[in-house]
Assembly symmetry: C2
Homo-oligomer: 202 residues x 2
DNA sequence: ATATTATGTTAACAATGTTTACATAGCAAC
DNA sequence: GTTGCTATGTAAACATTGTTAACATAATAT
């Protein structure tokens, strides 16, 4: 027996903090996250988090980085190298938007004002860049294969990301018409079609 | 002479609070705004704001509404009924993005997580809708004149807004490549061209 | 075994949002 | 004009938060 009732050292506090923070994010917005509340939930003193995160902001940044990694994963999963670039972009975009709608508060944290682009969080920056790279590589493939217009691939990727992020963001704010309490796949498809039309060679 | 040194009643506290709040927004992010600091700056007790705003959130909502009104103004100003819808949309979009870049923290407040779409602020909602209407009316004109594809005008307007908002948001987060310390007009034009290409009848 | 480092705790501080009770001004009715 | 009513302001207090400083304990290396 000898169940480990209480040990002075938690053992995996950093991870535990991030996980409960993700839980809290599902309930309230990112601005409502409190270090002390996290510590309470994990069952540790209120200053313990400071052994693992310099700041509250640092914890939020780690959270956002995890968000980008998951977004990454979600949008990269659906693409297969066999399909056309256009189809890959469409599927990837839909997966992206669905991720945002499924994790609204996490997404708001990732792009919200709690994390200023001025402060320096390499982990966050890299995860964000990788999310962008998913789009870039599909766009490059489309340009190389002649499917897409022959414009600067970074510009095209940026525009594509802007479109997908814009739809996600407006939908989260209920400023993009969608079916009450859900999302209409056809609306999504048609919106994505509009940007794709600007990309395709005619 | 009898200069009015101190009067128990401020006279125009609500407006004064909003104005200094806009000042504070230029310096720090929306999450850094403090009711007490505003009261201090205006020279009034820390609880006086509660006579004019139920909440801190209510003040932020009023601020965001003012932001939408200004955005509105900025993006509607540049459109003239004589020009083509395509040109109007391009100019209006550029004005929109410039507004976002000129008022980064205000824009972040307008779309940030401090204001949940769940809570009810009629003033904010109306101002936001009017911003949308600017786009809708241009899109309608383009569809009616045969310039734009004959799709549902709300869908097209939504997509257009998504594009413009996406560009703005990514640029504010420095996730959209642009000239260091400024914005490249040509990048902006080309990005907007891409969405426009999807709209134009071919 | 001992020293060092990593990790956790307690106590304290200043700042904030908010509520309650009280004070004063402006104004309308009599 | 006095009397009340309402709008607007103040003061005091509370709970909560982020953060720091000083101390305690565990894990680890020497």
């Amino acid at each position: 027996m000898g169940v480990q009732v209480q040990s002075y050292h938690h053992g995996n506090l950093k991870q535990a903090l991030l996980e409960t923070a993700l839980e809290h994010l599902k309930l309230h917005g990112p601005d409502k996250i409190s270090l002390r509340a996290l510590a309470r939930d994990v069952g540790v003193s209120q200053t313990a988090p400071y052994r693992h995160f310099e700041d509250k902001t640092a914890l939020l940044a780690a959270l956002a980085a995890e968000g980008f990694r998951r977004l990454n994963h979600a949008s990269a999963l659906v693409t297969s190298p066999e399909s056309s670039a256009a189809r890959a972009l469409q599927l990837s975009g839909k997966a992206y938007i669905h991720f945002a709608l499924d994790n609204p508060e996490l997404y708001r944290l990732m792009f919200g004002p709690m994390l200023s682009p001025d402060d320096d969080f390499p982990e966050l920056e890299e995860a964000g860049n990788q999310a962008f790279d998913v789009i870039v590589s599909i766009v490059r493939r489309g340009i190389d294969s002649g499917e897409f217009v022959n414009k600067d691939s970074l510009l095209v990727a940026n525009s594509t990301w802007a479109m997908v992020h814009g739809i996600s963001s407006l939908m989260l704010d209920r400023r993009f018409d969608c079916v009450e309490g859900g999302i209409s796949e056809s609306v999504l498809d048609e919106s994505l079609d509009i940007i794709m039309l600007g990309l395709l060679v005619r």
